[in-house]
């Protein structure tokens, strides 16, 4: 059957599944809308968290990024998994015991301050919007490549689906659709990876194929081959990077701590019944995430060897363009691959020096993989469905945080404390609907800086939420003034650094000008330190938090009697 028709069928079937789940899991109260009634099984929650977490960027771009970065790609692999250890050990159980709906709820109550709450709400909304715009764009790209509709139509279809199950089902609908989306996306990721691993190394598991010898009978290890090829072609050795050690350290730390401070991830741990479940759930989430994150670097190396050999030929002399495989010409149409025959020999050549004649976009590594490996049409269709699932699941989670922040933190807890549950639910749905439209707008008209703002989102979360929550749990004495000034100092420092290098003076964005050699991507780590230091100093000057707050902190440290997540 034609690839196009198969893709329509598989993507369409996955949409029907999501809609069916949404109708089955309608939300009837704010409790169900915000935290799925607090009755989600830890394994289901783990899957939902994994889908929530793994965005279009993880699914489509990460393996490609790693394949171009080599060792340096570890910043994403470590950064986006290690944060779960922090979540499980230092945050999730205590926040679950605290038993509110949102991160600003915790910050506002723990620091007994509307100012703290408002600062937290604004950060949460900002972080989520920067993220969600990128997701909508991801849906558009997948649609335009695989279904050949234009990006606008793709975004509108994606918006429609998310609108339906977010507005109707709230957290309850989202949770169960995310479970389904996880299954779709992980299948879509693993199937081509396994095929390619078998093809390149003869190993079924990509994770072991990564360290195995090539199946061409040469007895050379895959990574040895890749290191050799990279050097020969004027790139850096694949297994050693180009970034400075301190930069790799700081980027990894900022991503880890940022992960642990992202509101759409934290809120997932409010949906399980008990403190113990919150701990388990973080473990399951990491298992489900690790399946993709340990496959990605393997895939990255297979894809790189494959790509170099296809373009340059096994003799490294170049392949005649006339004999190029069809995937090259297919993807040339999208502009993700380009060939410029500089020496007019009719052959393609890819390298890291002036012999190079190819422009290869990193996103191609995952999307074109099934074609590169000559896999059957249904695998290509599955990859399309997986990309859409990854983008939709993350958008829904983010949109829910935005809507909760507006209806719960801003209206119920701030401006209109007396509204009924029903009214609040109405506002939550309204806020979700408005947020989807704004996100869709940015998906269709992406601001040129989407990629840059992602660093912003992590830096902000790392330098604001994470220290505030950690001190809230582990330092009874921390007071409102300390926490607020810490958050403001951390955010201001981080934002100023990123804005300067990314927007004000991008030409100066080179290692020589960076503070301690730390790039804007990694500066959140320093922002976090600034936050802690300022908070401590202010605490020393202003005196300990009041007795009843210390009592409240005592209380969240012990699991007994967590009860249901509740408003008050």
């Amino acid at each position: 059957m034609d690839v196009q028709i198969l893709t329509f069928i598989i993507v369409g079937a996955s949409f029907l599944l999501y809609i069916g789940i949404a109708i089955w899991a309608r939300a009837g109260s704010t409790q169900e809308f915000y935290v799925a009634g607090g009755g989600v099984h830890p394994i289901a929650n783990g899957m939902a968290t994994a889908a929530d977490w793994m965005s279009a960027a993880s699914f489509i771009s990460m393996a490609g990024l790693i394949s171009f970065m080599g060792y340096d790609g570890a910043v994403y692999l470590l950064g986006w998994t290690g944060g779960y250890v922090l979540l499980a050990l230092c945050l999730a159980p205590y926040l679950r015991k605290f038993g509110k709906f949102t991160v600003p709820d915790f910050i506002g109550d723990r620091y007994y301050s509307q100012t703290a709450r408002t600062v937290a709400v604004l950060c949460a909304i900002f972080v989520c919007f920067t993220y969600v715009a990128g997701q909508m764009r991801g849906v558009g790209v997948v649609f335009s490549r695989f279904l050949e509709v234009d990006i606008t139509t793709g975004v509108v279809i994606g918006m429609g689906i998310v609108f339906f199950y977010t507005v109707l089902g709230g957290m309850k609908g989202i949770t169960y659709t995310q479970v389904a989306q996880y299954c779709v996306l992980i299948m879509a990721y693993l199937v081509p990876a396994i095929f390619i691993s078998i093809m390149v190394t003869g190993h079924i598991l990509p994770q072991t194929g990564f360290g195995a010898t090539l199946s061409d009978g040469s007895g050379v290890y895959l990574l040895e081959k890749l290191d050799g090829l990279s050097l020969e072609l004027g790139f850096n050795e694949y297994t050693s990077g180009t970034k400075s050690m301190i930069d790799v350290f700081c980027i990894t730390a900022a991503l880890m701590v940022g992960t642990a401070g992202l509101p759409h991830v934290i809120v997932r741990f409010f949906t399980v019944p008990k403190v113990r479940d919150a701990r388990y759930s973080a473990g399951w989430a990491l298992i489900f995430i690790a399946i993709l994150y340990t496959t990605a670097p393997s895939l990255a190396s297979f894809a790189r060897v494959n790509m170099i050999e296809t373009i340059n030929g096994t003799e490294q002399t170049g392949t005649k363009y006339a004999n190029a495989p069809t995937w090259i010409t297919n993807w040339e149409k999208t502009g993700l691959i380009a060939w410029d025959d500089k020496n007019n020999d009719g052959k393609m050549f890819y390298s890291g020096d002036d012999r190079n004649e190819m422009k290869v976009d990193r996103d191609i590594m995952v999307l074109a993989n099934p074609e590169i490996a000559n896999l059957p049409a249904w695998v290509i269709a599955l990859v399309a469905a997986g990309g859409v699932a990854a983008a939709l699941s993350t958008s829904a989670g983010l949109l829910l945080v935005i809507s909760t922040s507006v209806s719960h933190d801003l209206l119920k807890r701030n401006l209109m404390p007396n509204i009924t549950d029903k009214k609040e639910l109405f506002f939550a749905r309204l806020a979700a609907a408005v947020a989807i439209c704004i996100a869709g707008y940015f998906g269709i008209n992406p601001p040129g800086f989407v990629a840059q703002v992602v660093a912003f989102a992590f830096g902000l979360a790392a330098s604001s939420f994470f220290p505030a929550i950690i001190m809230g749990i582990f330092m009874k004495r921390m007071n409102d003034k300390g926490a607020i000034s810490g958050m403001l100092a951390g955010i201001t420092f981080t934002a100023a650094y990123i804005i300067y290098f990314k927007f004000v003076n991008p030409a100066a964005n080179i290692p020589e000008n960076w503070f301690l050699n730390i790039s804007p991507e990694g500066i959140g780590t320093i922002g976090m330190v600034v936050n802690f230091v300022v908070a401590f100093v202010v605490l020393k000057l202003t005196g300990d938090s009041p007795e009843e707050i210390q009592q409240l902190v005592e209380d969240i440290r012990y699991p007994k009697g967590s009860g249901e997540a509740q408003a008050h």
């Binding site: 060792y71 050990l89 990574l223 050690m245 790799v248 994150y293 012990y558």
Partner: protein, 88 residues
Amino acid sequence: MAFKNEEDKKAYWRDNLSLMLKLLVVWFVVSFGFGILLVDVLNHIQFFGFKLGFWFAQQGAIYVFVVLIFVYVRQMNILDKRYGVDEE
């Protein structure tokens, strides 16, 4: 509070913190230590087809992370039971 006395309550928190810190040390060592700070040293060691430091950075540390969380869950369940604060 279900603790028998104030002493128990303090002890529970102390045990919790010490477990957490121990696991965080491992967390730091396998990722930031083996994967980043010591990567050049460990890369002299061959581990199947990998250089060991590279393997920790792109594979090994992630497996250890998963194990760490489940060790924490198990130990905390035992701790909760011992001090009678487990939820049933």
